[in-house]
């Protein structure tokens, strides 16, 4: 099967104005960083410079935390939940109104296809605010006792794979619960968070309730270490998650950690194969596999392995890889040179350890960071590509014979974030869902998200949940007796 030729259908970048430089958003306004340092953010699809953003130093972190503390004590803390709710509803509406602007900016800064940013990231972010808005005056019903209390100042550090969506997962429940926020977006994708600050000004959110400080790992570490921070929420690597767990040990700070994954996507011989192929593709090539819950280990029952792999290769050959701004693009750029190197290194380890690499003959752009959708077959459980999180469009295929073997292989990982199960047999779905040690199990589907649905890991994939009623709980201190 060959791909049809499509004429290019590029989205226009003119919908968004990018400033040449950005300061820090502290106490309701943009200010220069006392550190005087800055970093550049680039378009990973073209390597073009997009903007210069400030790097917050210790004094800037201090200023941001103080602003959040003051807002907590004077405005946001004393405000009735019903009033907080209306600000959150406002934010949700503003996000929906300006969704195209946010989508385009996300694509430029992150490299993901416009189809994903437009149809998933931005509408989900708006929906997240809308969902948690309704909780703000109903906290007594959350299951945290009568009159549960917020922690105070929340320090939130988010990754680059879903910049605005992760911002919404962090900020919406924190504010609904009555906390104030200092958020640090990722070093390579700060722009939609800064545009969100502009949106907060339109919403007239009281100054200091949300502060956005940009920078790299050092800024995040300074923020989390600040003694006046009460709540820490981090999404990122397991390695950094462990450092944070150590940092908050013995203090009053509570942490929510959403870390890495190595999800098994299990295909039984009675699976609906057409849907399963789409699920596999969505599971590992959505956002170029730069997803902590990506279905990066395909466990396929031996009797149908050849068929599944052949059909998967045929389907992959029709994926359109390239310009993220093109509305027909399925797979965009890798977010950074560093991430491309990690993917490349792990793929080479796959070659070296004896797995067999396949990727369709794509013409990748010459500029920017690109890795073609790739499949490794003949992968053994001990291979690095079966154990380590690649965070790229690389699928490792393993086989199994019995349901017990599938469970054993699926659980044979320090991670436990998500898993997929494909079979038409209902009782098998429920038994597998019981036995798999993962926070989200997608049965006959994959990579589904919703503001009402909790997300988060077992084991070294972290702790705490985001989304749904459960996602509110980490931002509340238990109230009176239950």
């Amino acid at each position: 099967m060959t791909a049809f030729d499509y004429a290019p259908a590029p989205e226009s970048p003119s919908v968004v104005d990018i400033a040449s430089s950005y300061g820090l958003f502290i106490n309701g306004e943009f200010t220069d960083a006392a550190s005087g340092e800055s970093l550049k953010t680039i378009n990973p699809a073209t390597e073009e410079n997009l903007a210069e953003v400030a790097v917050a130093g210790e004094a800037d972190v201090e200023r941001a935390v103080r602003a959040a503390r003051t807002a907590y004590e004077r405005t946001w803390g004393p405000m009735p939940g019903s009033e907080r709710a209306k600000y959150l509803f406002r934010i949700a509406r503003l996000l929906a109104e300006r969704s195209r602007e946010f989508a385009v900016l996300e694509v430029l800064d992150n490299g993901k296809p416009i189809r994903e940013a437009r149809d998933v990231d931005i509408p989900q972010a708006a929906a997240h605010f809308f969902y948690y808005a309704g909780w703000a005056d109903k906290l007594d019903y959350a299951g945290r006792g009568a009159a549960p209390r917020p922690h105070g100042v929340a320090a939130q550090v988010i990754p680059w794979n879903f910049p605005l969506l992760m911002l919404s997962w962090k900020i919406a429940p924190a504010l609904a619960a009555g906390n104030t926020v200092v958020l640090k977006p990722a070093e390579t994708t700060p722009l939609t968070a800064l545009l969100f600050a502009d949106l907060l000004q339109q919403a007239e959110l009281p100054p200091g309730v949300v502060n956005i400080i940009t920078g790299a790992g050092r800024t995040g570490a300074d923020l989390i270490a600040h003694p006046d921070v009460d709540k820490v929420a981090f999404t990122g690597s397991t390695k950094v998650g462990k450092l944070i767990a150590r940092q908050v040990a013995g203090t009053h700070k509570h942490a929510t950690l959403e870390l890495g994954g190595k999800a098994a996507n299990i295909i039984f011989d009675d699976a609906p194969v057409d849907q399963a192929i789409e699920g596999i593709v969505n599971g590992i090539y959505f956002n170029a596999g730069q997803v902590c819950c990506a279905g990066s280990r395909l466990l396929v029952q031996e009797s149908i392995a050849d068929e599944v792999i052949d059909r998967l290769k045929a389907r992959l050959s029709t994926l359109r890889v390239g310009d993220p701004m093109d509305k027909n693009t399925d797979v965009g750029a890798v977010n950074s040179a560093a991430q491309l190197k990690r993917i490349t290194d792990l793929a080479e380890a796959g070659d070296a350890e004896g797995a067999v690499r396949w990727s369709a003959p794509w013409d990748l752009p010459t500029k920017g960071y690109w890795f073609p959708p790739t499949i490794f077959t003949q992968v053994a459980s001990a291979h690095r590509i079966a154990r380590e999180e690649i965070f790229g469009p690389v699928l490792s295929v393993l086989t199994f014979r019995t349901p017990d073997e599938a469970v054993a292989k699926a659980n044979n990982t320090p991670y436990g974030l998500s898993a997929g199960v494909w079979t038409e047999k209902g009782s098998r779905i429920l038994a597998m869902a019981d036995k798999i040690r993962a926070g989200v199990v997608w049965a006959n589907t994959f990579n589904k998200f919703d503001p009402t649905s909790p997300f988060g890991g077992y084991k070294e994939s972290g702790y705490g949940r985001e989304g749904g009623r459960h996602g509110l709980l980490p931002y509340l201190i238990e109230g009176g007796t239950q």
Binding site: G145, K242, A245, L259, N444, D450, T452, R469, H470, Q482
Partner: protein, 291 residues
């Protein structure tokens, strides 16, 4: 001439059996007035490992039992404890230095605590889980599941009621436990092992170590096959702080339950659903709807 009584050898409780410490060591436990009570086993790192292995082996079976069954087993523990209340009262009186009346009350509260938690077994999933109304044609449900193997550092002062208050909420959902008893007041914990051994609690579901907190607890905190640790009982422990244990637990990202204050609480009021939920993982399952 009065009869010479036959004294009990106080041993560890691992995998449903009562071994001595593999290290061969013991240490003397004294009453609050300083009177020798018994030599108890001084658990080693190897004993802690054996206990974790036993807890891991027992975990799938215990989690796989029906909630109704686990509730009955916990209730059975209350029954057996009630029958031996005099023995516990005498050990609590001596070990904690309280009056007979106070010791009786503490034992009664410990029995009632098992009953309270027993009743939660088949309700936790209902109260702690829920359906999620996602915006699409999907069935979607979230349920709390047991975290796995949980290390429990028992309270240092409240040797029976405190111990029961931190143990029962761990095992009611299907976790298995490795308990490190109060270092200075270990006897009720050993006697509780004997109750558990005769209460239909499967071997390995609860394992009880006696020994020095500072020696054994750090091994439990770093052990890669322990999923969670309750360090709240380490308040007031000799030679190690709860913060140090939490720090040690970070490398394996264990779930950690901390103390709420720097003082050991009055365990009379320490029972809550949130204590059960602290050792659960919320799992969310999606499935498409369609004819």
């Amino acid at each position: 001439m009065s009869r010479v009584d036959v004294r009990k050898t106080y041993k560890l409780f691992i995998g449903g059996k009562f071994p001595r410490s593999e290290s061969g060591r013991t240490y003397p436990a004294a009453s609050r007035r300083g009177k020798f009570q018994a030599n108890v086993a001084q658990a080693s790192r190897k004993d802690a490992r054996d206990a974790v292995r036993a807890a891991r082996a027992a975990q799938p079976g215990w989690a796989g039992a029906t909630a109704y069954n686990r509730g009955q087993v916990l209730y059975r523990v209350a029954e057996m404890l009630e029958e031996r209340r005099d023995q516990f009262a005498s050990q609590v009186r001596a070990g904690e230095g309280v009056s007979s009346k106070r010791a009786e009350d503490l034992v009664s509260a410990a029995i009632d605590r098992w009953v309270w938690y027993a009743g939660w077994s088949d309700k936790v999933a209902q109260v702690g889980g829920n359906a999620n109304p996602v915006a699409g044609p999907f069935f979607n449900i979230s349920t709390p599941e047991p975290t796995g193997v949980v290390a429990v550092i028992a309270p240092q002062k409240s040797s029976l009621l405190g111990l029961v208050s931190v143990l029962a909420p761990v095992i009611v959902t299907g976790n298995t436990a490795v308990v490190l008893a109060s270092a200075d007041r270990p006897l009720p914990a050993v006697t509780l092992s004997e109750v558990l051994a005769t209460s239909d609690v499967p071997g390995g579901v609860v394992n009880v170590l006696t020994g020095h907190t500072a020696e054994v607890a750090p091994h439990l905190a770093t052990h890669a096959d322990v999923n969670a640790i309750d360090v709240s009982g380490a308040v007031g422990a000799e030679g190690v702080t709860w913060g140090e244990l939490e720090e040690a637990a970070a490398e394996t990202l264990k779930r950690v339950r901390r103390p709420l204050t720097d003082e050991e609480p009055d365990y009379a009021n320490e029972q809550s659903l949130s204590q059960i939920l602290a050792f659960t993982e919320v799992k969310t399952v999606w499935h498409p709807k369609g004819a």
